[in-house]
């Protein structure tokens, strides 16, 4: 399970064979079941999670009690509430497994120590972070640019296999509209195909 993490490090930076074990000792490998929680509302986000296999989601609960999914993480993605993680203050988000998942995790303090001890890890997390930023800028652009219907179409075209993999109501929640409206769009799309 750690193999896929090391592989990811090596895609973005260089890691000496002699350092691999020392680096891996900072991480813990865990398995979670479907719907298992990794971060509950108002807790501190103590760990940063790397998805080896499976899928996580981050969400918050709005004043009406509805869960709003703001982020998914699939294979080779990191996920945490970075505001809470960095300041080790209480989070407004929850993190939950969408499917049975294999994860690698690292605590905030361990990650800090890891980065001081191994400059290449500082570099790795800098690159990860910049990539995440680029993705956020792009995502925000889509939120400005596309109607909800277009956002669905775009997402569907970009990640067709992922759309199949998760329940529709989670996708609706991620795209910030109601399951009812998603249903309407799907019907429209289907009618066009016939």
């Amino acid at each position: 399970m750690s193999a896929s993490l090391i592989q990811h490090f090596r895609k973005l930076t260089t890691v000496n064979d002699s350092d691999v074990n020392a680096i891996l000792s900072y991480f813990k490998s865990i398995q979670v079941r479907k719907k298992e929680s990794l971060l509950e509302n108002a807790d501190v986000c103590r760990s940063n999670y790397f998805v080896v296999k499976g899928c996580l989601r981050m969400f918050f609960v709005n004043e009406k009690g509805v869960e709003q999914t703001t982020q998914f993480a699939i294979e080779n993605w990191w996920l945490a509430d970075y505001m809470s993680f960095q300041t080790q203050s209480s989070s407004e988000f929850c993190i939950q497994a969408v499917e049975k998942s294999d994860l690698m995790m690292i605590d905030f303090h361990d990650q800090e120590r890891l980065m001081s001890e191994f400059p290449t890890m500082e570099r790795y997390f800098r690159i990860i972070s910049q990539k995440a930023n680029a993705a956020s800028q792009r995502r925000i652009k889509f939120m400005y640019d596309y109607s909800k219907e277009d956002q669905y179409r775009h997402f569907n075209n970009s990640f067709p296999e992922f759309t199949q993999r998760i329940p529709q109501y989670l996708l609706a929640s991620y795209l910030n509209f109601t399951p009812e409206y998603l249903s309407e769009i799907r019907k429209k799309t289907f009618l066009k195909l016939v």
Copy 2:
């Protein structure tokens, strides 16, 4: 002008006095006038900009020809289209000065060299990047959670002096609604106060 950049480095990491000049030599200091462009549509985003004084904005032009502002940067913030910057590929955004501004800038390749030469700069940009990520996650949450009216109220309460500083139509654009609707909200807010 470089003083404020160094000060910012030192807020987040440690910089030896003996390294200051070598580090600063990677940066260029420039002044731009109001409405001056730093990145034009379809160009590569070659530089990362640090605002010493003034205000920048990033926007794109939608298919109707309307400018959609997705980000502002004021004193002590960095701004770039990170997708374009990192891959040195053509950008979908434009960057422009909202006010006459003093900036520090660094090219992509220089930033890469700077980070290899000075691990503390690798660390600095890692921290900057993580902070930006935290801010994006929070911003995306607000976009999900609040109605447009509430987004205006929230922004207004969070940055009252900034709301005064920029034209209303730019704020409307940033909050992703029309100047007409902003006007309506302001009227409502005003009537409540009376």
